[in-house]
Amino acid sequence: MKNQKLALARQRFEVRHLPVPPKFFTYKDSLIKVFCFMLLMVLPSASGTAGTNQFLVFHRQASRSLPKLLLGQQTYLPVVDLLNFLDLPYSESSSAGFIQITVSKSRLRMTKDQAQVVLNEKVIALSAPVTLVKNQWVVPTDFISKALARVLEQRVAMATSGNAVAVGEPGFTRLTAKVMDKDKVLRVQASRPVAAEVRQHGSRVVLAFGNTPVDLVGLEGVQQATWIRAVTFDQAESTNQIVIELSDGVRSAKISHLASQNSYIVEAIRLEGPEPNPSAVLGPPVIAAWKWRHITIDAGHGGHDRGVAIRENVFEKDVALAIARKLRWSLEKRLGVEVVLSRADDQARSLEDRIVAANRARSSLFISIHTGNAPGSATAHSFAYTTRWIAAGTSAGETRSAQTLFVPWWEAQRGSLAWSERLAECVQTEMNRALNGGRDLAFRRSPIKLLSALAMPAVLVEIGNARVPDFQAKVYSEPFQNLVAATLAAAVEKFRPLHERP
């Protein structure tokens, strides 16, 4: 009996403490672990190889750089950014895994993970599959030449470097840099008339071509030139230029533009030579200083600063950002000018940050977008504002003379106030016509902190009145926001010929 109990207890013990027998799934588990490990090894290397190189697209006197993604050996481009810049309509669904581009009667359809494009039922093979990276559609670069060029009614020209494309006439202007005299002269020859902004910083001579599509196709004799260290062609974000690095024995260079021969002559001035005339060194300015660089659109508030609560879950910061994005789109489309948003998403930025960014970038124009909030009014009129100053010790509204030689940075707007008022007039006139029911309302002046320190024509726009139910209902609608964006873009279009001196 005792023996039986002991045997039973031992059996229970053994059942409870049996070593786990080797099973098939442990081997499978190991395989999975190895696979996961390999995946972990591969994934960072895939993202690590994603370079930060840029691909430049020229279209209608504007340029846009797109980030190039290197996945394995293949270079990819974000196709939606490209289509937006080229103003091509598309429809896409990440979840369904397709993107379709419609150009007049042609349809380009791509399916995720397939190395092909279907053009009106005809299949075109691509060098690599179309895919989604971080929820963003990316295509191999040969998509442009193999597929997009077939449906566009405009000329599509690729640069020899493969890093740029020009859509529309006249395509790329071909440049050839040739050393004419190994001790002295370099000639940059263009295939057609082209304007460059000539700059010289120490030992660097820069020929900047702005938004003109140029392609350096030839470089001759630089290795033999004693006075040149290197000639490089930068074609990336905000740079489209030839950079000539001078050697140590060269003090500076004289640059001449032979317009009749479409060429620039760069001539070395050595240290032992006579002091050059500075104006002769730089040559005549080819691009006037007043040519518009870019426009800054400021979406008011952001982040924790929600601005006016328009209705439940709709705040001023969101409306301002939506309108700012649409205005950027309208301005780039209508004016072909680069537009910068002071905040591209829902982030808090101090007024000082916004001011510094616009001033440092030497923006040509600044428009801040806000919504109105006037509980005492039953109307939802929109107004443009310029700044005014309340000088300490003087009565309100009295401003200091604008003729002062130096102004403190926080009053930088003094130098541009007259232009700001012209801009405000243009904006108010357009808003009266499109948003204020044809009423003859004047723009307003207020001591606005943001505008006071901006060194360029700057206005703040207050759209509607958040306390009017009709405005609350429509403010988040696409048609209304498109109307506001189109109205402001029309005002800028009117203002441009008054201000810009191309």
């Binding site: 601005g307 909030n373 006037a374 005492g376 300490a392 009565s395 723009f443 606005i448």
Partner: protein, 206 residues
Amino acid sequence: MPRHILFGLVFLLLISLIGVSYYYDLQRRIEELVRPGAEPTPYLAVPPSVSPSAPLRKVKLFFPSSRQENLLEVEERDIRSSELPSEEAKQIVAELISGSREQRLPALPAETRLRELFVTQGGLAVVDLTPEASLHHPGGLTMELASIYSIVNSVTQNVSNIERVQILIGGVEVETLAGHIDLTQPFAEDLSMTALGGAGMSAHEP
């Protein structure tokens, strides 16, 4: 029971008692910290030092109109007169924060308190409001301007020694009250938004 176990149990009991008493003491102290202190005088963090028997005087307060945009309307109130301009100004700002009695719009959010108000020799009144003035502000450029000039005009119109007003939030100089109007400079009286000035803010229009 062995003696050493008895000592051990007594020791544990003592430790437990100390722990429990410390816990309750800590809880009481935290409650004291969290519990709001005595309610300050409404709308004033520091009560004005005026005699309750001091004679009353009428003052004109400016509140944003509920009928028209960019208009400040006058409402009369009684305050205790004082030889010190700051003490009168404190009462004026407290009355402004308390809101209109005639259905006008609030000049400042009701949660606001006046932290401090003092007057410098140059006739500059420094009005230090709690952060609620900014955090609970309804927003919008016109309401912001109305809030500022409600304070500035109410103080400068009623206290003879005050010519300009500098507004601080939470004891520090801030860029703006609600994202638009520059608060870094002192404001002088501006009646253009009032019926006294005649034209409302449109007086600034070109």
